[in-house]
């Protein structure tokens, strides 16, 4: 699993569970209809997800890009709202091609927007490239760098809310740190290994801005990026 907003690094010695321990409801039967009544976390998660997919320009661009790549995303097949452990907000399960959203940890619409964008970037990478999620730490690092860079995880306001202060080029510092934390949460590797992997792929992956073409710092940037994406046939034909 790839996940964001991780808790502290996992205990070593056991075999690598690839982060699945954070998502205890994976591989369990879904709850009965009666158990999922109104006003539950599950219901709220579904409502917020729908709002994101229908109105958020980051998500809409990613959905369109995935559709163009042959991976049309369906709400009921590719998203799952579940309870998760710790401080995890979501994850991408490449084994089932599903984005898991942590209904007990996502409380606000803006947070849902960010988590969905982050996980859709992982899904987009899975769709367009042979990403070896489980055995190649550099591939995982690359996708985490891209997701932290392009989803709005590292805006100044979000960093200040985490009590991380910095201005000149701080975005890159944040992207590095969050990528390392995400790797440590789902893989039984040392911090040095994670840091080394991030350092080796940072330049290539920080500058890989697909499908946005720019780092979207606001919804207006994302809307512009969506427009450019829709016009890309004209662009490529006239170079």
């Amino acid at each position: 699993m790839k996940e964001e907003d991780s808790a502290s690094p996992p205990v070593a010695e056991e075999e690598d569970d690839f982060g699945y321990r954070l998502f205890p409801d994976r591989n369990k039967k879904p709850q009965s209809f009666l158990a999922r009544s109104f006003f539950t976390f599950h219901n709220r998660c579904q409502v917020m997800l729908r709002m994101t997919l229908e109105t958020n320009p980051y998500a809409q661009l990613l959905l369109e890009a995935m559709k163009q790549s042959g991976c049309t995303v369906f709400n009921d097949r590719h998203f799952a709202c579940e309870d998760c452990d710790g401080c995890v907000s979501g994850g991408f399960d490449s084994a089932t091609s599903q984005i898991v959203l942590c209904q007990n940890n996502i409380r606000q619409q803006s947070h849902m927007n960010r988590v969905v964008t982050h996980e859709l970037i992982h899904a987009f990478d899975h769709c367009r490239a042979h990403v070896d999620w489980f055995k190649n730490v550099k591939h995982l690092a690359c996708s985490e760098i891209r997701a932290a860079n392009l989803s709005g995880d590292c805006t100044l306001m979000n960093e200040i809310a985490r009590f991380k202060f910095g201005l000149k080029g701080h975005h890159q510092t944040c992207v590095r740190d969050r990528a390392i934390r995400s790797i440590l949460a789902v893989r039984k590797v040392s911090k040095e290994t994670a840091q080394k992997a991030v350092d080796e792929v940072f330049d290539a992956c920080f500058n890989d801005l697909e499908p946005f073409g720019r780092i979207p710092h606001s919804k207006a940037d994302a809307k512009r990026a969506y427009r450019d994406f829709q016009n890309r046939d004209r662009y490529n034909a006239n170079l």
């Binding site: 089932t96 490239a129 690359c142 100044l156 000149k168 080029g169 710092h217 662009y235 170079l239």
Partner: protein, 96 residues
């Protein structure tokens, strides 16, 4: 026709010079943005539309191709797929 509409070049230039973008660029890259190129591209686009000037067309296309090359500067970490993952649409109960 030009790769982008002339309004798009104008917008990019105005946006690049704005305070908000300057802040975001400094926050992300540690330096202030260079916007001159968008202005040159806008003027080349206008010249192209008005008189179909060959020099303007060549300058604009060269600038845009350079932008594409800059994006391809780094060797990719992974190999791209030729077709989407085969299990993307597989129903969930078949995965178990």
């Amino acid at each position: 026709q030009p790769p982008r509409s002339c309004e798009d070049y104008w917008w990019e230039w105005k946006h690049c010079r704005g305070l908000r973008h300057a802040f975001h660029h400094y926050y992300a890259h540690g330096e202030l943005p260079a916007c001159r190129r968008w202005r040159d591209d806008y003027e080349a686009c206008r010249a192209w539309e008005k008189g179909r000037a060959a020099a303007a067309q060549e300058a604009l296309c060269k600038s845009e191709r350079a932008r594409v090359m800059e994006k391809q500067k780094y060797a990719p970490v992974w190999t791209l797929r030729k077709s989407p993952p085969p299990d993307w649409h597989r129903p969930l109960d078949q995965d178990k």
